[in-house]
Symmetry: D2
Subunit: 143 residues, 4 copies
């Protein structure tokens, strides 16, 4: 796991969009990755809530990296597609995007994702989005 944690930390650091959004890698475990996204006015949609696109970017990365924890050496992952439901407005002071591997097949890995909204440092949260994603394994030299 230490190797994969380093590899994911390095890849995450190379995703300039995560820095642009202010997202941080919060946890890397076997088949599960968390990404933290603090509220910021530069992520808003027209009503002042966080834009669905910023929420989606964070949970897409969380699912992709969760899949990567299950990929063999010499393989990268590429998101083939995902579907996301928005359950309520992205209203909160900070958000946590969680990706979990549900099945790692030979070719495709299926992940589910969840985004939680928190007020300040309170432990209570509301689930604001649910994702189901299909991620392809690709040999590194083919990317």
């Amino acid at each position: 796991m230490i190797d994969i944690q380093r590899r994911i930390a390095a890849s995450f650091a190379a995703q300039a969009l995560m820095d642009t959004l202010g997202a941080k890698l919060a946890l890397v475990a076997d088949g599960e990755v968390h990404i933290a996204l603090p509220f910021s006015t530069h992520l808003s949609q027209q009503h002042g809530f966080v834009h669905a696109g910023a929420i989606t970017s964070a949970v897409d990365s969380a699912c992709g990296y969760a899949a990567l924890t299950k990929a063999p050496q010499g393989y990268e992952v590429v998101t083939a597609e995902f579907k996301i439901n928005f359950l309520r407005p992205a209203l909160g002071e900070r958000f946590l995007a969680i990706g979990n591997v549900q099945n790692a097949g030979k070719l495709l890995t299926v992940c589910t994702g969840e985004v939680r909204a928190f007020m300040a440092d309170e432990p209570a949260y509301k689930v604001i989005a649910l994702m189901q994603a299909t991620i392809a394994k690709v040999q590194s030299e083919k990317i």
Copy 2:
């Protein structure tokens, strides 16, 4: 159409994320909206292509505003969910995200979205992503 064009331009200008990403409103027609996204290194994923999340944010907004062109006065739109397929890496100098209304029901509007990648000012493009989205109409005072 002039009213709805003004209304969408004002709403788009209030979406700080679009400004953060460098996206511009490029066309507003009845049931169709285009958003332009130039390549920028601050949008990249780990291989230097544009992150799927940035592409998704642009086409999600294009679909949402396309739905808004069909909404009656006093209604706003909220994305309930979408699904997006990534057909190839987001490799290009500029991108165009296009949202089209396929059906405007009493409650829900179904849109399809497409993202095209262009090299500089050439007219040829490759379709890099396809979206299918469900957007709810909500009375303005209820948001």
Copy 3:
């Protein structure tokens, strides 16, 4: 719960497709519904496994009825859309389709579904499909 169980049993009995497929209502609880589908050669695809469409029909009904357990009196449910991933071939002697409510909003209910494949009466199973569905509440007289 007894009222809603009766209502769902009556509705299920009126779904001729469930009878055509040989599906049975196996459990109705608050926010969760199970539908059992035995293997039958008349459900097969070209390789002799159960067709994805039969699996999908069962879990779509399970999600719809799970949503109905959360609907107020005088409301029906209509599936707006769903997404389903097939994790492995539908190989088994019997299948169980499970629908769970994840969020019941004012307008839309989001459910997740899972289909499990069993060999004969063994308790072990494999998850063969995962669904994420959006179900609209509609006043009964409007259908």
Copy 4:
């Protein structure tokens, strides 16, 4: 095309579910397949319309066979996932499910599907469902 048409006709004839539903292969072209589904009371949901599951089964097969028209010799196709929106109740005397290839990649083929509802022999129709599907190519001996 004659080879692939024969191959798809043979595969369709082996899908017992299509016979159970009363579906017929109506057209096989390069990247496009049509499946016809007449209304029948044994396909109904609780309000007497055709069940979403029957509609979905037909358009899933149409998308899968459309993908197969683009697969090289020695390859089969397997549906990895799909998403379907139901635009209105499946009210009609006959239905036509149409699958179209949007992109045939090395590994994955992305198709869109549409289901049209007709009254008797009238040429006018309503689109009742839209699908977006991801289909994997698999070497025949690996199935």
